[in-house]
């Protein structure tokens, strides 16, 4: 009887131990692969007595999140979050984005002013287990593009044209740590800068490394919002050619003499953002070594989320 009891206890304990280990790993993996977007216009919420906003989530890891909850805390506001928790299936297995709706009510006696509210994503079954997501820090951030009317597409990275533009870098690839995916920063980084005028989006692409490569391409993904499927424009720095499913009318590409830098111009209308005040963008780089082996690196998201603008960065066109 004692042997049976011991055997049953061990059998019950083992899955719990395994689950605990898995639960801890998923919080580490979620650091870079749980996309979070706070739907607040211009990154700033203005509230009289009550206001609502949404927090969108997309799981781009290689496994599901069994339960996730959102807490919103602030001494100045009372927050109500719906739903209490949710299951987030991985996009790799068909999972779609989920959202929490947050309603904030100003507490009595709170004067007008600027305040911070804290957002925390955690495991509802164990509040000490907090999801680590760097995206949450910039989830409501919107980057303003300076007007690029002065950009001349000549392959030269002139400071006067590009110095004030935002830079998108810190690309990463994916590897395996134990049995799950791990983000690995690229040794050879790409740097992408954006500018815009009334008709065109200008892009400066700077390719680090890639010596002896048989192929080296950057792809720009653009969508007017988080719902619309993005338009992808691929720029090949070695051939100085652009490809796009919507055609290449109006696209200009000019590399530098050493082909490490490419300037390009893409009509806003082709990207579907003409007349839009803001858009969402993402970048990838596909580097093919001399032996033909390809490595794909990402600015945001991964292969499962490339078509999901919720993981992209948000940019505002100067008015």
């Amino acid at each position: 009887m004692w042997r049976k009891t011991a055997l049953i206890t061990v059998c019950l304990a083992l899955p719990a131990a395994a689950m605990a280990h898995l639960c801890n790993d998923v919080f580490v993996q979620a650091k870079d692969n749980l996309a979070v977007k706070v739907d607040v216009r211009d990154g700033q919420l203005r509230i009289g007595q009550e206001a609502s906003f949404r927090v969108y989530l997309l799981n781009t890891m290689d496994r599901d999140i069994a339960a996730i909850s959102l807490s919103v805390t602030s001494p100045q506001f009372t927050a109500e979050v719906k739903p209490d928790n949710m299951v987030l299936r991985t996009a790799k297995k068909g999972g779609t984005k989920g959202s929490f709706e947050v309603t904030l009510k100003r507490n009595p006696g709170v004067p007008d002013g600027k305040y911070k509210i804290d957002l925390c994503l955690f495991n509802p079954k164990n509040k000490a287990q907090v999801f680590k997501t760097l995206d949450l820090d910039s989830a409501a951030g919107v980057v303003e593009l300076p007007k690029g009317a002065a950009v001349k597409v000549d392959g030269a990275a002139d400071a006067a044209e590009w110095d004030k533009t935002p830079v998108c870098t810190d690309f990463y690839t994916y590897g395996k740590k134990s049995q799950y995916q791990e983000n690995l920063p690229c040794q050879d980084q790409a740097r992408c800068r954006l500018a815009a005028d009334a008709d065109n989006l200008y892009c400066l692409l700077q390719f680090g490394g890639g010596a002896g490569a048989s192929g080296d391409q950057a792809t720009i993904y653009v969508s007017p919002n988080t719902e619309t499927k993005p338009v992808a424009v691929t720029i090949d720095r070695l051939t100085a050619k652009a490809t796009c499913d919507k055609g290449t009318d109006g696209i200009e590409v000019k590399p530098s003499a050493d082909k490490s830098t490419v300037e390009c111009k893409i009509p806003l209308a082709l990207l579907g953002i003409k007349g839009s005040k803001s858009f969402h963008a993402n970048f990838t780089r596909t580097l093919a070594a001399a032996d033909g082996k390809k490595t794909e690196s990402y600015w945001r998201g991964n292969s499962a989320s490339l078509q999901e603008p919720i993981v992209y960065g948000q940019f505002k066109l100067a008015e």
Partner: protein, 217 residues
């Protein structure tokens, strides 16, 4: 009336000038701020990207006895002169920093791998903040090196830096909320410049009608 007619050219310049000034003042909140010149980090385990084998023989620099090497990379610099780059430790003192420039842009270092030494006893994960600062008003103890390479045979002697997490425990982020009793009417602020211009133009028209009236009679 001679007084009115002789002051009219100055009035013509004053009204549009005033309208422009009002429009500029209204647009001031929309101007975006300049890029950051300081970033806070905390200690973290050194990632695999610092131990990638590149065929070179000796790690540079080598960790001294009783110390760790903290190796990190930052790709959003804008440093024209290494003397204007500093790493400030948790005690507020500048730490000697070796810098391997990885990418230069517009005549400035934009991306660099950096390393500094720390006593092992002070190298616990999460310790910070370590503040990387750069700019004309910054003076640091930074010097250039051709190559920084970590020794994969002694990973325990290496640490790295990661951007500092939120102030609260766990991983909590904040967004800014503006409590504004006039929030429901805030959008009317954007109508103010146009309203002022319209009012000034209307006033100008009424004044010019008033001046034309007596001369006709």
């Amino acid at each position: 009336m001679s007084t009115g007619s002789s002051s009219w050219p100055s009035r013509r310049l004053a009204l549009p000038g005033l309208a422009l000034a009002l429009t500029f003042l209204a647009a001031l909140p929309a101007l975006s701020a300049a890029g950051a010149e300081a970033v806070e980090f905390e200690l973290a385990p050194a990632g695999e990207e610092f131990f990638a084998a590149d065929g070179q023989a000796a790690p540079t620099p080598a960790p001294g006895p009783g110390s760790c090497l903290v190796i990190f990379r930052y790709s959003r610099l804008s440093v024209a002169d290494l003397g204007q780059l500093a790493l400030i430790g948790p005690d507020g003192k500048a730490l000697p920093l070796l810098v391997e420039p990885l990418f230069e842009e517009f005549g400035r270092i934009a991306d660099a791998r950096m390393v500094f030494s720390l006593p092992e006893a002070e190298a616990a994960a999460g310790r910070g903040p370590f503040t990387l600062k750069w700019g004309p008003d910054t003076k640091g103890a930074s010097s250039r090196t051709e190559r920084i390479a970590a020794d994969p045979a002694h990973r325990e002697l290496y640490r790295s830096l990661r951007p500092r997490a939120g102030a609260a425990a766990g991983n909590v982020a904040s967004i800014e909320v503006i409590a504004d009793s006039t929030a429901e009417y805030h959008f009317l602020w954007y109508l103010l410049p146009m309203s002022m211009v319209f009012a000034l133009l209307l006033a100008r028209k009424l004044l010019s009608r008033g001046e034309a009236g007596p001369s006709r009679s």
